[in-house]
């Protein structure tokens, strides 16, 4: 328990909040890189996932790709890229985009698949074009699930940016890797607590947004009914 008190004392020390290695700067880097990675991953995976979900084509390929990417150990990927690329955040960004693709992809196609076929047929029946069905019917109804995929990716990226600090990149993982060789357990633990707090905060924000984006009139919610 003493360690915990020391860790919170470390976090509470005003000297640890400012400067280039301060908590504010490090948190900002962590959040910034996470957003960048997520944006890149979404730019690739959302169109692909939505196409698979909308057309029903290439589903087997999508599932296989998502499964195979999931099995890749990120630490290995990260260090392999780091050896082949210049110093800096680039290898970490690439490795983390690869990591973030499967959940976003799976969320997108699973989301569209969850839309009741009768609803889609009805939309076509009133004369909507394929695009209109996608944008006005399928995506709004599937949005909680699509965001669920992004949420999952966001959490993994936050977790793995911490590990990525084994490379010379910023972020909250710096505290852990800077303190590790010096055996400063209070600093390691403080860094760990800060990352955990960031992850839980992100999770809570996504949970809230997922709840808010459910269109009015859609009762079929995010969780399975209790029997």
């Amino acid at each position: 328990m003493n360690f915990l008190i020391e860790a919170f004392a470390w976090i509470g020390d005003p000297a640890h909040w400012s400067g280039d290695d301060g908590i504010l700067t490090r948190s900002g880097q962590h959040v910034g890189f996470t957003l960048l990675t997520l944006a890149l991953a979404c730019a690739v995976a959302l169109p692909v996932g939505l196409t698979i979900g909308h057309t029903g084509r290439g589903r087997g390929l999508g599932v296989a790709a998502a499964g195979a990417l999931r099995a890749l150990p990120t630490l290995g990927l990260l260090l392999l890229f780091a050896l082949g690329m210049p110093l800096g955040p680039l290898p970490a960004v690439v490795a983390l985009v690869v990591l973030a693709l499967p959940p976003v992809l799976a969320g997108a196609y699973a989301g569209l698949e969850s839309v009741d076929r009768a609803t889609v047929d009805a939309a076509r029946g009133v004369g909507m074009t394929g695009w209109q069905v996608l944008w006005r019917v399928e995506i709004p109804i599937a949005l909680p699930l699509i965001l669920g995929g992004v949420r999952s990716a966001a959490l993994q990226v936050i977790a793995t940016w911490t590990v990525a600090a084994i490379l010379p990149v910023g972020g909250l993982g710096r505290y852990i890797f800077d303190a590790l060789p010096l055996q400063q357990y209070d600093k390691m633990l403080a860094g760990s607590i800060l990352v955990i707090a960031l992850a839980l905060l992100t999770d809570a924000i996504f949970a809230l947004v997922q709840r808010l984006v459910v269109p009015k009139g859609v009762v079929a919610g995010v969780t399975a009914p209790v029997t």
């Binding site: 099995a71 890749l72 260090l79 699973a110 699930l145 995929g149 993982g173 990352v195 999770d203 209790v226």
Partner: protein
């Protein structure tokens, strides 16, 4: 290739270490998630509470959790037990929802028929609910297995040896081949585990072969919904 042959003994030992670290969390996680998932499914209030807790636990990043474990367990910082317990927590967090949903999917008339035939609640769980949920549980367990095998490598950062050691060693020696071999061997371990699970599923649930695909599909949807 020369390097592989010269170091085959090291590779074999690390692979065994990897298996020894990743098997207990998968087995323990499955065993623990059965009663918890059952309890979550049994009452409306416990479902919300237990599934929320599972979701929060799953949101905690792995490397920081490794550093927090000594506080809870009283272990040393570099103890392999930290990794095993942390990964067991993830396995439980992931499986509880799968178990709860799998059990919830038993049709009401089937349950009532079993009761009418004189099954006690205990016997009905083991002989009706659990076998019917089998394919869903298997699909969930395969996800747990893949992610556990991949996450064990992160333990190398805190000095817990697994195939992840090859990532760090290869990185510090500027030897990409070693990192790549580490990745390939990790994928092999994941594939072997997956094969064992699929085989066990076929032996234990010979009736389920045709329903395997929908089981996985349902899981993908729910997995996306859960996050």
């Amino acid at each position: 290739m020369d390097w592989v042959l010269a170091n085959s003994e090291l590779l074999w030992r690390l692979a065994l270490d990897h298996v020894a670290l990743s098997a207990p969390p998968i087995v323990l996680g499955f065993a623990l998630s059965l009663p918890i998932g059952w309890a979550a499914n049994r009452y409306r209030f416990s479902r919300g509470a237990l599934l929320s807790i599972a979701g929060i636990l799953y949101a905690i990043p792995s490397l920081p959790l490794f550093f927090v474990m000594p506080l809870i367990l009283g272990t040393r910082i570099l103890d392999p037990a930290n990794v095993v317990v942390a990964l067991t927590i993830y396995a439980v967090a992931l499986m509880v929802r799968t178990v709860a949903d799998g059990l919830a999917a038993t049709p009401g008339e089937v349950r009532r028929s079993a009761t009418a035939l004189g099954f006690s609640a205990w016997r009905r769980f083991w002989q009706v609910d659990l076998p019917l949920a089998g394919p869903v549980l298997l699909a969930g367990l395969r996800v747990v297995s893949v992610s556990t095998v991949s996450l064990v490598t992160v333990g190398a950062v805190i000095g817990v040896n697994s195939l992840g050691y090859l990532f760090l060693d290869g990185y510090y020696r500027f030897f990409p081949l070693e990192v790549a071999i580490g990745i390939v061997l990790t994928l092999v371990v994941a594939l072997v585990f997956d094969g064992i699970l699929v085989l066990a599923g076929r032996l234990l649930m010979p009736w389920a072969r045709t329903s395997r695909a929908p089981g996985r599909r349902a899981l993908a949807t729910r997995e996306a919904a859960a996050r």
